[in-house]
Amino acid sequence: MILLAMMLVPMAAAGLLLPLGRLLRTRSGWVAAAVSAALFAYFATWLPAVAGGDVARAEASWAPAVGLSLTVYLDGLSLFFALLVTGIGTLIFLYARFYLGAHEDHPRFFASMLLFMGSMLGVVVSSNLIALFVFWELTSLSSFFLIGFWHEREASRYGATKALLITALGGLAMLLGFILLYLATGTWDLSALLGRGAEVRSHPWYAVILVLVYLGCATKSAQTPFHIWLPNAMEAPTPVSAYLHSATMVQAGLYLAARLFPVLGGTELWATLVGGIGMLTLVVGGVLALRQDDLKALLAYSTVSQLGLVMAMFGLGTAAGVEAGTFHLMTHAIFKAALFLVVGIVEHETHSRRLSELGGLRRALPFTAACALLASLASAGLPPFGAFISKEMAFAATVEGAVGWLGTPGLLPAAMVAGSVFTFAYSIRLVHEVFFRLAPAPRPPHVAAHPHEATWWLWVPPGILAAKGLVLGLFPGLAEVWTVGPMATAIAGRPLHPHLTLWHGMGWPLGLSAVTILLGLALYRARAPFAAWRRGRWAPGPDAAYDAGLALLDRAATAWSGWLQSGDLRRYLVIVIAAVTAAALGALLPSGGWPAAVETRRLLPYEGLVLLLIAAAAAALIFLRNRLAAVIVLGSVGYLVGIFFIVLQAPDLALTQILIETVSLVLFLLVIRRLPPYAPEAPGWARILRDLTLSAGAGVAVVAVLLATMGRSARETIAAYFLAESLPAAGGRNVVNVILIDFRGYDTLGEISVLAIGLLGVYALITLAVKRP
């Protein structure tokens, strides 16, 4: 239960941070960091149990009737991600506290960050597929808020929208996959699915399920060709890029691929999709990274490339692949977050992040340079860093082969070496050009002339991460026992004991590493053509397809709404009334027309009088040519209907009708003030005929629906149940109210949400219309 509550802590903190923000201002970062650190400490206490093979589980029912619940499932894989999210989160929050200027909106920033943290925790510990999906889309949403944090910039808005569209659409495909998975197996529970892999893989829908779920993973983890959103996401403040777009959110796709490995993995189709596209992404990302001038774009493409590598490892379908992928996922998250933070410092101190404008910063920023050196060497895959070991393991896994055609001898090692050569080259380029070579002359005017080392709050977080990368290399046994071992076991679904060590002995991996380093150095020396290539924009590609697709959608939507929504209120009414009439009559007429047995009774005289008055008022309305008079007569129709409800002894309905009539009458009068004078022309015969037909049709349809509902016997309706259970089950004598707030509370919740959203629409419409010049 505590476990379940912990999951919701960041969300609650985010909710509190917004209203308390006025008080906290720049202190918001401390609150966020404290929350994050406490969660990290809490999850760390689970390490011994989980490393010993335990699995924690907690459940809270949401809607038990349809199998919805919040189920927390904590095994080696989930715990690793929980620690990653909270651990790196703590460092990033401290960093961001000093990265953001004092005048910026700290509460909004940290509330969005905490919302993200909560959603990401939800993704990695949820065992219910629907809950996982909801948290998954929440990470996309918080990412949207954070990329668009500086929403006054056009590029930020473009990047935020692109990321949201691509990842949320992928998420929808994933939801379809989950639904098919549920239909095939009858369970929403992931932990129950884990043991039923063979059954799922032999199901006729297997291929469809796999492709749909993979689309979710691939969009989230920026696999080619969906990687295009990640470079645009770099418009976010750098702490966001370090946290969401390198270390955590983009790994959600890797998480899901790993999580579903025992269910969907190991087939040739899996190897083709996950492994093949992963390898392609590794190479494409590496090539694109080397040609970038913007440091953050370089890191974005390098993230794409490394995500491809990890994905490919899970795609191989072998134990060696799972072990290598697991450890590389860990080492990459650490060195890449450190590199992003370093780039953030460089930009903060020099006001530039272009390679062509920077150089020789090691004297001005000595501590930052040290962090950058450690992280870059790790990224390049050099010993004695943890990433060297994970890369060696990856080389070994590619040599060992894969399921299906991907295992063709030589293919995987060649792709792996190609990708790693580019990785080596851009890693070295980053640290060499920014910190060690001479600064380019002349210095562009916007670049700071005498940059100073940043406050230690900024360089300590990347320092800790960079040091962690070194510790992983020097003492890999720690990771082996506490994280990588339990994680690989959880992924593979059977006990795995990866052996992590710096010295693997002479063999293929070491040879391939040596080849990579030599070719990488050569490529780095001959990098000039790549720098030239970036000047010519590569027109046809997924980016252009995205823009063209969006423009097409825009045009189609404009044309459609231009035709349907002419702005003429009468036209809308005609369409709505005609549609409702057609739907009602279309449903009723074919099913046998009028119901035979309807209970009737004689109309009492005073009831008849009220009805007569209603009809008279409605008829008078047609001939009125004055707006004010028309509104008041319309109001009287409403009040008379209210009186009719009283006559029929329905006090709740009558109260509601009369109150609503009062308020809408006042609102109506207020609106009339703003309208231009009303001077209707006399309608022609055609119009009169059309309106008459429409009115008569609508009247007939409403009466038909009423008769049809009354004709159903009480046995078929749920009314008897509500009447009987209202007092004993819900403690209320007013059945109408009990239905509204208890029996059908979900419906009411939906309705009031719609009401609130509608109000937001009115608010935007009125305030925006006034602000426009």
Binding site: S61, A63, L670, I741, Y746
Partner: protein, 142 residues
């Protein structure tokens, strides 16, 4: 421009306003057993303010109305959502309601359903939406 009104209207409006508010509260609290409920009570409150509005004009209603009522909407929605969470903690499912019996000194035994909290959320939200609409549409803009 002076708001056109009559002595009779202003006197009546001033006199009935507190009673209308009390009536609204009454409708909210008795809603589970007798005619009323959060929605009706919310609209009642809006109608009460609308009467002030019609009688005294914009000057007679607080300037802060639009902002404040947006807050009411947000708070009401949060309360309605939050009232469902208790059921999660006990494992009975979202939006579960219980009947609680209290022995109070003067009133004797009072029984109420926890769904009342949900109803209060509806009340605040509906009142907020109505007040905001009044303020938005009624504001004197060219």
């Amino acid at each position: 421009m002076k708001h056109p009104t009559t002595f009779l209207a202003t006197t009546v409006a001033r006199l009935v306003f507190p009673f209308l508010l009390l009536l609204s509260l009454h409708l909210l609290l008795v809603g589970h057993n007798r005619p009323g409920g959060g929605f009706i009570a919310g609209v009642m409150l809006v109608a009460a303010v609308a009467l002030q509005y019609v009688t005294f004009g914009l000057a007679g209603t607080p300037r802060r109305l639009p902002r404040g009522s947006l807050g009411l909407v947000a708070f009401g929605l949060t309360l309605a959502l939050g009232s469902g969470v208790a059921g999660l903690a006990t494992g009975d499912g979202f939006l579960k309601s219980w009947v609680i019996h209290w022995q109070l000194p003067v009133l004797g035994e009072v029984a109420w359903a926890t769904a009342l909290v949900f109803d209060v959320g509806i009340f605040l939200l509906v009142a907020g939406v109505g007040l905001a609409l009044l303020a938005f549409i009624g504001e004197d803009r060219p």
